[in-house]
């Protein structure tokens, strides 16, 4: 992707974040090009999920800067400003977090209708198209409680896509799924990446990260320990800590 590397859409620079006394992020920097796919790997508690939450403004940062498209995320104060950002950056969660009182189709349609104020007919058509894309056209009237974990997660991805975001954040989206359904969700994400969606993934699926990512960041203890294209990072890690981690998980 030659044009992908020209203009970074996400710039994270020296981000510090702490919950009370606990410093979760201790100076994290990286960039993501438009259309790029970045995977963040690392042990639990290394601040991966917090990093994603900082990028869409769910968690405030104490130092450093985050720039996404035209937004200075670290400087957003009012709800209105954060809402403008979140129209461009959508997040998919580990526990799906679908709205249990709405059907799959309603889940997908809600935000475009009420947040973007688009016409219900158009949204409906787009939502059905998105559910078809994630392979769940037949389940559009099912409630989340009637769907399997993998199906719920695919609805959640469709729900995020319905907002037509510039950037998608995936927070360990397959961690709560059983091994068989992981595949259907990963296929969905792979499709998105191939279409040129900018994606930042926090994942424990090393093989998937290797296949899909343009760049992989290994984090530990609130810092990025090593960053490299996947082939390099997985096959020839330069840092001992990375090597130790990979030897455990691969």
């Amino acid at each position: 992707m030659p044009e992908a590397s020209t203009r970074p859409i996400v710039v994270v620079d020296d981000v510090h974040q702490s919950f009370g006394e606990v410093e979760v992020l201790k100076g994290v920097s990286f960039t993501v090009a438009k259309g790029g796919v970045v995977c963040i790997i690392g042990p639990s508690g290394s601040g991966k999920s917090t990093l994603l939450r900082c990028i869409n403004g769910l968690v405030p940062i104490q130092r450093g800067s985050i720039r996404v498209a035209s937004f200075d995320v670290h400087a957003l104060r009012t709800d209105k400003e954060k809402i403008a950002l979140r129209k461009e950056v959508s997040m998919v969660f580990q526990q799906y977090n679908l709205f249990p009182h709405k059907t799959a189709l309603q889940n997908v349609m809600m935000a475009p209708i009420h947040v973007l104020r688009e016409k219900p007919d158009e949204v409906r058509a787009r939502a059905i198209a998105l559910l078809t894309k994630v392979g769940l056209a037949a389940k559009q009237d099912a409630y989340p409680g009637e769907l399997s974990g993998g199906q719920q997660q695919r609805v959640a991805i469709a729900r995020s896509l319905a907002m037509r975001p510039e950037v998608m954040l995936f927070d360990e989206v397959t961690a709560a799924l059983d091994p068989e359904t992981v595949k259907e969700v990963l296929n969905t994400i792979r499709g998105l990446a191939q279409e040129g969606m900018t994606c930042i993934l926090v994942t424990h699926e090393m093989r998937f990260a290797r296949e899909i990512a343009d760049e992989v960041h290994f984090t530990d203890g609130g810092r990025i320990v090593e960053s490299a294209p996947p082939a390099e990072l997985f096959d020839h890690p330069k840092v001992d800590r990375t090597r130790a981690f990979l030897s455990q998980v691969l």
């Binding site: 709800d79 209105k80 809402i83 979140r86 977090n97 709205f99 995020s160 907002m163």
Partner: protein
């Protein structure tokens, strides 16, 4: 999703008690648990009361059942008044409590604090004291633009009962909202919903099911509390029973008449209590 396994042999009582305590905390009041046995006991008391009264009556007195039957239309009218008070108090209290509950989770510290204070003041004050306050502090009439509107006693009593209902509904609403996982708020935020939209479209609809059982429980408690209005002289069932008794002037009738009143309330509240329990069980499985 797999539930964490609890060995059924270990601490079943502790777990059961903890659940009951949680339910009661959520409902803001002691849960009303009416059993069929309570009805049987009440009926037995009624029969006993009738028997005692019959034994004490003189030969020329009409029979006890005939006496009760004679007064029943009047008592029924009084009971209808109790129900009217309960409906209106519940409606006013629920609407006010609904907003108060939302105010309790407001992001504005002043609103939050004020709502918290109001809720806890009216929730912990004795119902009878609130009733007296309303009876004696509210004027018996108001003049608006030269039009004099009388405020009858029963209106004041209804308002007095609506206050604790409001406070309890406020706690039910707050409890239900806070029982929704924070991940729902997060998901809504990440889809760019604002706070108001999140509350109304995403959080509150999920609360309704959780609120219904404690709300019905509160209604049953309120219905039974409407007899408090007799103390401040409203013509409801209890007041009328006292009048009937003094008109009859037969001390033996006391137990029979009051058990009769209790039976009326039991027959009305029992189905509500049973229905509440059934709803609770149904929603407990779903969540």
């Amino acid at each position: 999703m797999r539930q964490p396994q609890v060995l059924p042999v270990l601490l079943p009582a502790a777990e059961r008690l903890a659940k009951a305590a949680m339910r009661e905390r959520a409902s803001g009041a002691r849960a009303l648990r009416l059993e069929p046995a309570h009805g049987v006991a009440l009926f037995a008391a009624f029969v006993l009361g009738c028997g005692v009264a019959q034994a004490q009556s003189r030969s020329y007195d009409p029979s006890i059942l005939a006496t009760i039957w004679k007064w029943t239309p009047l008592l029924a009218r009084g009971f209808a008044f109790n129900l009217a008070i309960s409906f209106v108090a519940m409606a006013i209290g629920s609407i006010a409590g609904f907003f108060l509950g939302f105010a309790q989770i407001s992001l504005l510290p002043a609103v939050k604090r004020g709502a918290w204070l109001t809720t806890h003041f009216f929730r912990n004050a004795p119902w009878l004291v609130l009733l007296f306050y309303c009876m004696f502090l509210l004027p018996f009439q108001v003049t608006v633009f030269g039009v004099t509107i009388p405020i009858p006693d029963w209106t004041k009593a209804t308002l007095g009962l609506a206050l604790p209902v409001m406070a309890n509904v406020s706690e039910i609403v707050r409890g239900a909202i806070q029982s929704i996982p924070t991940t729902q708020w997060e998901a809504a935020a990440s889809l760019a919903f604002n706070r108001r939209q999140t509350q109304w479209m995403i959080i509150f609809p999920q609360c309704i099911k959780r609120m219904l059982p404690p709300w019905m429980n509160l209604y049953a408690i309120l219905t039974m509390s409407t007899v408090l209005a007799s103390i401040v002289g409203v013509n409801e069932m209890m007041t009328l029973t006292q009048r009937a008794l003094s008109a009859e002037n037969r001390p033996g009738l006391l137990l029979a008449f009051y058990s009769y009143v209790l039976l009326w309330f039991f027959v009305y509240c029992y189905p509500i209590a049973r229905w509440t329990v059934r709803l609770e069980a149904r929603y407990a499985v779903r969540q």
